[in-house]
């Protein structure tokens, strides 16, 4: 036991009356890694912060013992804690943009940490900063060290934060959702970097994440949390391969599998219902010069595709690929800069709001953020009834009946008409959003990242609901998402987007099993799979792919 770098016993954290962490105990030996997994609100990040005594300033009450590298975090003085923080145990945060001081250059921030802990000269500290930046793969590190955080991309910022953690060669690295804000390909790079560094410096790693796939490839052991308690704790292969706890089982089964084929669609795809041709959407960016022309950025750069009646088209891509823009253009929330949007033979590309009004009922949308898509000041019943009132001019009794039916259909109690959005959970709000979209019985339903802000277990339910509804109403579904596994669950065909273009379009199973475009291959290789063995292989495959693309 004494060889363990970190010993946590009976840890409790209370925020006022709320117990966020309840009697948690675990150990982590030097050089080993532990994954802390749980859905939002499970208390996993609270644990991470407690390890470095960061709750001292937040007013939370921490109980139990934390022994980190021989220091009793609970009993240590502020000065002793400072010696621990950053030097022997360093932390990598979720959102690297806000985690770095916007006013300081990256190099200066790393150098400051180094100086505080080593007392070295400014020069030596600056050199060290460049050295670690170089190590985490920042190209031209000596020059880039002078840059400010906002001048870095998301992935680069996360690398910089890892460099900062690395600066004093700590024995323990605590990574709190280090890749959640990143695209899947960048996530893979960062995880691979962490893995490499851990091996190289023999650091212990505590990885906090909601993603079982991320745990699989990067930790030896895993601890599953729910509601502040540990429900299962063991070697990663055991927990993921043969979960003992029902909650863990449920969690793992809810994770969408990239390799799971979709049950054949019951609706036969019919004629072309909606077709876009050479669709282009530009946004103005900063003006150049005094009177200079506004520079324009193309969010969508010439996309053409046909949507057949009753089919489900999945659109995947990383952030900035233009997939959301495409989704919003399809329902004409945006006006395209160029190109055509043909719906039943009519070009809607530049139709006025008045001309669109009758078509609106055919084209509906489910939005990503269930909170902002519902007016906080109106009841969910009103939200669902509004389209009916506008389009069908129905009276109140009919509206109530219709809303009740719709609520029931999406799995909510029929008498929830008078509830407000803030009174219900995220998954329930998304069901309300779906009910509203279905109220007018549209023919086309565009879902823009409908499940990305939901926990895994809820995600699966909503996806299942959408699939059911598509069958039932004979919907033509466009499912826009960044998560390739989720998309595969509902799509007949897949469009892969990158930088405003569709790079690959094909039948789902073909795209997933035999991707043609290198980008699609890269994308698929980056998706973490909750299976440690598979993940090991994929890491190797990624390395091969990366060197291949480097050669290109």
């Amino acid at each position: 036991m004494t060889s363990d770098l970190l010993e946590v016993a009976d840890l409790t954290v209370d925020f006022g009356a709320v117990r966020a962490v309840d009697g948690l105990s675990f150990t982590l030996a030097a050089g080993r890694s532990l994954g802390l997994v749980g859905e939002s609100g499970s208390g996993k990040s609270t644990v991470a912060a407690a390890l470095l005594g960061l709750h001292r300033t937040s007013g939370a009450e921490v109980g139990g013992t934390i022994l980190l590298d021989g220091t009793d975090v609970q009993q240590a003085s502020d000065a002793e804690l400072r010696l621990l923080r950053g030097a022997r145990a360093a932390m990598v945060f979720q959102d690297p943009l806000s985690a770095l001081d916007p006013y300081w250059s990256i190099g200066a921030q790393i150098a400051e940490v180094y100086r505080v802990h080593t007392g070295s000269s400014r020069r030596a500290a600056a050199e060290r900063a460049v050295q670690v930046l170089d190590r985490v793969g920042i190209p031209d590190a000596a020059r880039r060290a002078a840059a400010h955080p906002h001048e870095f991309s998301g992935g680069m910022r996360q690398r910089a934060l890892i460099a900062m953690a690395l600066a004093c060669s700590p024995k323990l690295l605590i990574a709190d959702e280090p890749t959640t804000a990143l695209d899947v390909t960048v996530q893979a790079q960062i995880l691979d970097l962490l893995h490499e560094l851990r091996v190289e410096h023999r650091m212990a790693l505590l990885l906090v994440t909601h993603d079982l796939g991320v745990v699989a490839g990067n930790t030896d052991r895993v601890l599953v949390m729910q509601g502040g308690r540990a429900v299962e704790h063991g070697p990663v292969a055991e927990v993921l391969g043969a979960p003992a706890d029902p909650y863990t089982r449920e969690l793992i089964s809810a994770v969408p599998r990239l390799d799971a084929r979709r049950a054949a669609s019951s609706v036969a795809a019919g004629e072309v219902l909606l077709s876009v041709q050479e669709l282009r959407k530009e946004y103005p960016v900063a003006t150049r010069g005094l009177f200079g022309r506004r520079e324009r950025l193309a969010a969508l750069d010439g996309v053409s595709l046909d949507l057949h009646r009753g089919e489900a088209l999945g659109v995947v891509g990383e952030s900035g690929s233009g997939k959301t823009t495409l989704g919003r253009l399809l329902v004409r929330l945006l006006e395209p800069t160029a190109g055509r949007i043909l719906f039943e033979g009519r070009d809607l590309a530049h139709a006025s709001e008045r001309e669109l009004r009758p078509v609106r009922r055919e084209l509906q949308m489910v939005f990503q953020d269930p909170l902002s898509s519902l007016n906080p000041r109106r009841t969910i019943g009103d939200a669902i009834a509004d389209p009916l009132r506008v389009q069908d001019r129905i009276g109140e009794p009919q509206a109530r009946t219709a809303v009740g039916e719709l609520l029931e259909r999406v799995g909510l109690p029929a008498d929830w008409y008078g509830r407000y959005p803030h009174e219900i959970s995220g998954g329930q709000r998304q069901r309300v959003g779906i009910a509203r979209a279905l109220a007018l019985r549209p023919r086309v339903l565009v879902c823009d990242e409908p499940v990305s802000s939901l926990d895994v277990s809820t995600q699966a339910q909503v996806v299942r609901l959408l699939a059911e509804l598509q069958r039932e109403f004979g919907l033509t579904l466009v499912f826009v998402a960044h998560d390739l596994a989720v998309v595969r669950q509902v799509s007949d065909r897949i469009a892969v987007m990158r930088a405003g273009r569709v790079v690959e379009l094909g039948v789902a199973d073909e795209v997933y099993e035999n991707p043609q475009h290198p980008y699609t291959r890269q994308l698929l290789a980056a998706v973490p799979v909750p299976d440690p063995v598979v993940e090991g292989d994929r890491r190797v495959a990624r390395a091969v792919l990366a060197s291949a693309s480097a050669v290109q």
Partner: protein, 329 residues
């Protein structure tokens, strides 16, 4: 950088131009005859016409404005046939009631207002930022509550009230300080400071309240940001965190506000001047309003506007320099 300055200068000029049009139209379209005011006793038709011609008020409004603009950029002559009054660029107008160029009247009083503004700014920055930082760091203590109370009270006290009460106590009852009357810095620095002490304090107390509140809330906001958590997680001491990381972010809006406030004050501190009986730009304005000396009114309004516009530009520049994210585009 140069592009930023050019663009800012361009937009500043545009704002000034619009400002001058608005000011000019508002005042000269009003139903007053400046010529009649200047012409005075026994001013018959011919004489009145000559004076009108000299003042340029016989022209259509847009031509008057054009002449005004021309005077601003290149100077102008007021020609009454026999005598010519020259007003060199930048001609903010010519006061025929006092027979002086408006700009000269303003600049003669500028040292007073500058002394007032700059001195007060030093005091209010020290008081305001100091108090704000203390309040932010000692959250929830009695000190913070007291400070909140004091700053709220300060914000609720118009400067003429603070000044009046201070003068009543310090000069009237206690006789600590002389009744303020402006002495130029160049003439006697000690007298300059002792005479300005009360006005500085009055102005500063009112302003410091706002600055303290702003510093406090900005600092609390910054201290709640993620990068402060990062700094803590990497073992940085509180002093270093507050002074090195939090305060810089918190002070950026304060600097911006300072530029704006100074800009406003340089255009005349009407109420302060009025309470302490100083003959500054503000008082000149009030007097000119009472005598309908329109060129002076227009001149001061424009002058004050120019200061604010320029202060705006300086504030933006400072902001851009202070915050690397904004950038000088």
């Amino acid at each position: 950088m140069i592009r930023f300055l050019l663009r800012r200068a361009f937009s500043t000029l545009t704002v000034m131009l619009v400002l001058s049009v608005v000011v000019y139209l508002v005042f000269y379209a009003a139903p007053h005859d400046p010529a009649r005011l200047v012409c005075g006793k026994g001013c018959d038709g011919v004489r009145l016409a000559v004076v009108r011609h000299k003042l340029g008020t016989d022209l259509p409004l847009w031509q008057q404005y054009w002449q005004f603009l021309h005077g601003l950029l290149a100077g102008r002559d007021f020609d009454a046939g026999t005598d010519v009054t020259h007003c060199s660029a930048p001609c903010f107008g010519y006061s025929f009631q006092t027979d002086q160029p408006v700009l000269g009247m303003i600049t003669a009083r500028l040292p007073l207002d500058a002394s007032l503004a700059v001195g007060a700014a030093v005091v209010w920055l020290l008081l305001g930022i100091g108090a704000g930082v203390l309040a932010a760091l000692r959250r929830g203590g009695i000190g913070e509550r007291a400070l909140t109370g004091v700053t709220l009270a300060g914000m609720a006290m118009p400067v003429f009230l603070v000044g009046l009460l201070l003068m009543m106590v310090c000069c009237g009852y206690l006789q600590w300080l002389p009744f303020p009357s402006y002495v130029p810095l160049t003439q006697d620095p000690l007298a300059w400071a002792s005479n300005l002490a009360l006005p500085w304090l009055s102005l500063a107390l009112v302003m410091a309240a706002a600055y303290a509140r702003m510093t406090r809330s900005a600092l609390l906001e910054t201290l709640a940001e993620d990068h402060i958590r990062t700094a803590r997680a990497y073992g940085l001491g509180e002093r270093r965190i507050v002074l090195g990381h939090a305060l810089r972010g918190a002070l950026t809006p304060v600097i911006t506000l300072l530029a704006m406030d100074l800009g406003g004050l340089l255009g005349g501190a009407q109420l302060t001047e009025s309470v302490f009986g100083f003959d500054g730009i503000g008082r000149l304005l009030v007097e000119s309003v009472n005598t309908i000396d329109l060129p002076v009114v227009v001149g001061i309004t424009l002058f004050a506007g120019f200061f604010i516009v320029i202060a705006n530009a300086v504030a933006d520049l400072l902001y851009a320099l202070a915050d690397p994210r904004v950038g000088l585009q």
